[in-house]
Every structure is written in structure tokens, then in C-alpha cells.
């Protein structure tokens, strides 16, 4: 289990990027962090990845405190960040030094197949489209079999079609090792497609505003009513987070009605 308690981060320039974040993520749970820019979403992932130090509070993974990159935690950044001098297959194999050659090859080949790039192993990253590059980045994280996988708006630069197919690739990979996933996204549809729970964040200082369970059966049908009503609930909560003063009883009732609806 991933546990964040009283986590705060104030940058050297005084920016309070996060204050008092408390969050527990179950094993194999997929959690979506939603919120506008500046809510501290990236900061939160960087803390969990051990790339930055928290100003206060603690991050624990199965009881173990994280304060530097941990072998069981993987991250996919907003940009693919592939190493341009390595082929696609070598990029995927980047963290697999400790395996022997055959095992490494097998794991890479399997991952490439899962992301639909089996034929592209010998190509250079620059030969791939943005969506393909991002898939390689996801495969590079997955082959490590992380317990926790952090995804920072990995699909935000892509068009809607590419995004939908990447969601399937992602879930396909997730099924295999079922890591805990923390996914940052701007896209409510994406959150409802992928996550078991939506965490809505607010800026200045960055904090958690609300959380909503998204306990829909998988595979999820975007056209089905439960999906749509879940999207609406998340949108309603987002509206409220943007405009909390106007959180009138009317809105509350809308929200309850929406909840009843599904």
C-alpha cells in the first residue's frame, strides 16, 4: 500500500506547491489526480518518485519510507524522454541490466508486443510518432514490474484517437502485473476510463479538494449510462473545486441526483 501522510512541499522560492496531503492507495488501485495547472500534481508525483524531497510529512510504500528513487516505483513523464541514441528495444531494456540477456530480450519483446510495436524494436525513437514514443516510455516503466507506477499526464499531448488506443494498451499492460497506478490527468473522460478513484486537487496551496469512487465494471463502455454519470459527477466536483464559494445547495442536490442517476 502507498501511503502519504501530512505531505507538504514548499519550493525554495516560497511557492507552497503542496500542503498536508493525506492519501492512501491500495495495492493494484488506479487513482486519477485531477486539477488545473499549478495544483502540485507534478510535484506530488516527483515526491513519490523520490526525485524531490518533501518539506514535511512522509511517503511510505508497504511501510518503507521513500526519499529517493525506489526500485519498486516507476514513472512516466509528460514527455516520453526516450534516449535518442538507443533503439526502441534498447530504450525499453534500459532498466533491465540486472537480468541475463535472454530474459531481458524476452521481456522487452513481450512488452513491445503488448504495446503494438513488435516490429519497431530496431528503430530509433525519432522514427516514431509522439504516441508511439509515449507507448515505448510506458513499456520502459512496465518491464521493471514496478509495484507503483506514476503517470504524469502521459497522453496530454496526443489527439483523442491516439489517446483512446493508448488507454487500451495501458490497461493491457496493467492487467499483467497489476501495479498500483497514480495517474495525473486533465481529462475527465480519461480518469473515468482508467481509474478506480478520482482525486480532485486545488491550487494555491496545492491540496486535495475531494475524492470520488469510480467503481465501474471493467472493461468500461464509454457509451454506457454509468460511465456518463460518473463523468458528470467528476465534472460537478471539479466545478465546485474551481468555484467553491458558489457551492450552493442547488449544486449539492444536482450532485446527489447525478449520483442516484447511475
Amino acid at each position: 500500500m502507498l501511503n502519504l501522510s501530512h505531505l507538504s512541499k514548499t519550493y525554495a522560492d516560497g511557492t507552497r506547491a503542496l500542503t498536508d496531503i493525506n492519501l492512501s492507495v491500495r495495492e493494484s488501485e488506479i487513482v486519477a489526480l485531477i486539477g488545473g495547472s499549478g495544483c502540485g500534481k507534478t510535484t506530488l508525483l516527483r515526491l513519490i518518485a523520490g526525485l524531490d524531497r518533501a518539506s514535511a510529512g512522509a511517503i511510505r510504500l508497504d511501510g518503507e519510507t521513500i526519499h529517493e528513487p525506489h526500485p519498486a516505483v516507476g514513472i512516466v513523464f509528460q514527455e516520453p524522454r526516450l534516449l535518442p541514441w538507443l533503439t526502441v528495444a534498447d530504450n525499453v531494456a534500459f532498466g533491465l541490466d540486472h537480468l541475463d540477456r535472454n530474459e531481458r530480450k524476452a521481456r522487452v519483446a513481450h512488452a513491445l508486443e503488448k504495446i503494438g510495436l513488435a516490429e519497431h524494436g530496431t528503430r530509433w525513437p525519432r522514427d516514431l510518432s509522439g504516441g508511439q514514443q509515449q507507448r515505448v516510455a510506458i513499456a520502459r516503466a512496465f518491464v521493471m514490474h514496478p509495484k507503483v507506477l506514476l503517470l504524469d499526464e502521459p497522453f496530454s499531448a496526443l489527439d483523442a484517437f491516439t489517446r483512446a488506443s493508448l488507454h487500451e494498451h495501458l490497461l493491457g499492460l496493467w492487467e499483467e502485473t497489476r501495479p498500483t497506478v497514480v495517474l495525473v490527468t486533465h481529462d475527465v473522460q480519461e480518469a473515468v476510463t482508467l481509474a478506480d478513484r478520482a482525486i480532485i486537487m486545488q491550487p494555491k496551496p496545492g491540496r486535495i479538494f475531494d475524492e470520488l469512487p469510480l467503481a465501474l465494471a471493467r472493461p468500461r463502455d464509454r457509451a454506457a449510462l454509468p460511465f456518463e454519470s460518473a463523468v458528470r459527477r467528476v465534472l460537478a466536483a471539479l466545478d465546485q473545486s474551481l468555484n467553491p464559494v458558489q457551492a450552493s445547495p442547488q449544486r449539492e442536490r444536482d450532485r446527489e441526483a447525478a449520483a442516484l442517476w447511475w
Binding site: L51, P71, E79, W85, F94, W124, R126
Partner: protein, 288 residues
């Protein structure tokens, strides 16, 4: 010296990515592009002038005493080659360049790597080196002669100094400009410092390192001439001086042509030898 930025601004001048890609290996590797007839246009001017001059001398319109016609230069070159003189001089020159290049580039890589990878070392080393760089390198000649004598050692030292600075600047600048985001990938995968250097920093700086070595080599060729001017009994630079003293412009031009050919050959060899290291850049270049 030619177009090196200071290490504080490594992206200036020709260390821009496209420039880097183009310079790290000028012609497309692998797939050859279809031959483009327009490339021949570049020959139009020099060949035309050479033919005109040849004709002018041939028909007595000009004497060609100070500016010999191409045929006479070719004959001189051929005579020098046949007697073996050309090889003696060329190999003396090449040997000096090689020694100076190895020493200068080796030192440039080592010091550049130190200065590029440690803030503290950079603060210690860089100001002094920048100050030394401001001295025209030829100004060292008298000192080198006093210290090292008039034979090979002082010549090699001068060439090494000429090679050192562009290599130092190029390497330090390349390390400083490595994408921090890729370094972070190394951190995520928990690479040790040594592995980070080998698996991320080294490949990231290679293209710019090749450019630095190429400009170092170019300066090596420049400085070998200066070195051989200061008194040599063999070498292409000696042929130049000798041609001037004996009033043989054809010999001077023959030596210049030999320099040009050797310089181009050495540069191509360097590009060819380092191509496997920067092969991944070919893709980018073909798209330019």
C-alpha cells in the same frame, strides 16, 4: 579562433543541434541520396577560372610567373611526388599534427570533462583557461623554443595548445548542455554516478565532442604551418617557406594543395571513424 562560444553559453554558434547534426557527419550515411546535378554548379567557378588562366598563359596573354597556370602546379606536384619528396614532407607534417592533436585533444577532453561536470572545478579552472585562450597562441612560440628547443617538441607543443582550446570548450559546453530531463531518467533507474556518466552523459555529449575534435583538428592544421614556419628542414610548411625564398610560386601552391587535400582527408577520417558513435543522429539529419 573560429566560432567557439564560451562554456557559459554552450548553445551559441555552431553548437546548435542542427549545426551539430550537420557537422558531426556532413554527408548522409546509409541511404545515399540520388545524385543531384546542381552540386556540380559549385565547380563552375574554380574550374572556369583555372581554364581561363591556363588559356591566358598558353596564348601568351599573361606570363604566369607569379601565378603559375594549373598545368605547371600539377607538374610540380607530380615531380615532388615522384622523387618521394612530397611524402617526406607530408609525413613529417602529419606526424607533428598527430602528436599535437593526441596531446591537445586528450588534455582538452580531460580538462573539459572535469570543468563540465563539477561546478567547483569549473569555477577554479575556467577563468584561467579563458584568460589563456585570449592569448594568440603564436605568442607562445618564443617561450616554447626557449623551453623545448627548436626541434620537434616545441612544434608539437604549439599544435597541442592550438588543439586544446576548442576541444576543451566543446567538451565542457557539451556536458553542461546535456538535457537535465534525460539525466533524471538515469536517476529514476537508480544509476550510479559512473553508470550515469557512461550510459547517459557520454552518449549525450558525443555528437558535440566530435564537432569539438573536428575543430581541434582544423586548428592543428593551422598551427602546424606556424610551427613549421619557425624553422624546419622538412614538412609542407617548409616547402612553403622554401618556395618563397627560392621564388617558386608553383611549389608554394603545390604545398597549399597538399595541405588542403590532407586536411580534408584527415577530417573525413575523423568523421568516418566516429560515425558509429553518432549513428543515431542520421535520422535527424535526413529530416533537416
Amino acid at each position: 579562433m573560429t566560432g567557439q562560444g564560451t562554456i557559459q553559453s554552450p548553445r551559441q554558434g555552431w553548437s546548435s543541434p542542427q549545426g551539430a547534426a550537420a557537422l558531426a557527419a556532413p554527408s548522409p550515411a546509409g541511404k545515399r541520396r540520388a545524385f543531384d546535378g546542381r552540386a556540380l554548379l559549385g565547380f563552375f567557378l574554380p574550374v572556369g577560372i583555372a581554364l581561363l588562366w591556363e588559356a591566358a598563359v598558353h596564348f601568351g596573354l599573361a606570363q604566369g610567373r607569379l601565378v603559375p597556370p594549373p598545368s605547371r602546379i600539377a607538374a610540380t606536384l607530380w615531380a615532388l611526388a615522384r622523387t618521394g619528396e612530397l611524402w617526406t614532407h607530408a609525413s613529417a607534417t602529419l606526424w607533428r599534427i598527430l602528436a599535437g592533436f593526441v596531446i591537445g585533444a586528450g588534455a582538452g577532453i580531460a580538462v573539459g570533462a572535469l570543468s563540465g561536470s563539477s561546478e567547483t572545478l569549473r569555477r577554479v579552472l575556467d577563468p584561467t583557461l579563458q584568460a589563456l585562450r585570449a592569448i594568440p597562441s603564436i605568442a607562445w612560440v618564443p617561450l616554447f623554443i626557449l623551453w623545448l628547443g627548436i626541434f620537434e617538441a616545441s612544434k608539437v607543443a604549439l599544435i597541442a595548445v592550438g588543439v586544446f582550446f576548442p576541444v576543451y570548450l566543446g567538451i565542457a559546453g557539451a556536458i553542461l548542455s546535456v538535457d537535465r530531463k534525460l539525466v533524471e531518467v538515469g536517476r529514476v533507474f537508480r544509476l550510479s554516478r559512473a553508470k550515469l556518466a557512461r550510459r547517459i552523459l557520454l552518449p549525450a555529449v558525443l555528437p558535440e565532442a566530435v564537432i569539438a575534435l573536428r575543430s581541434g583538428l582544423g586548428l592543428g592544421f593551422m598551427f602546424v604551418v606556424a610551427a613549421e614556419f619557425m624553422g624546419a628542414s622538412e614538412g609542407l610548411g617548409y616547402l612553403l617557406v622554401d618556395g618563397q625564398q627560392m621564388g617558386k610560386p608553383d611549389q608554394i601552391l603545390a604545398a597549399i594543395i597538399a595541405f588542403a587535400l590532407l586536411g580534408k582527408a584527415a577530417d573525413s577520417l575523423l568523421v568516418f571513424g566516429t560515425r558509429p558513435l553518432v549513428r543515431w543522429q542520421d535520422v535527424a539529419r535526413e529530416r533537416l
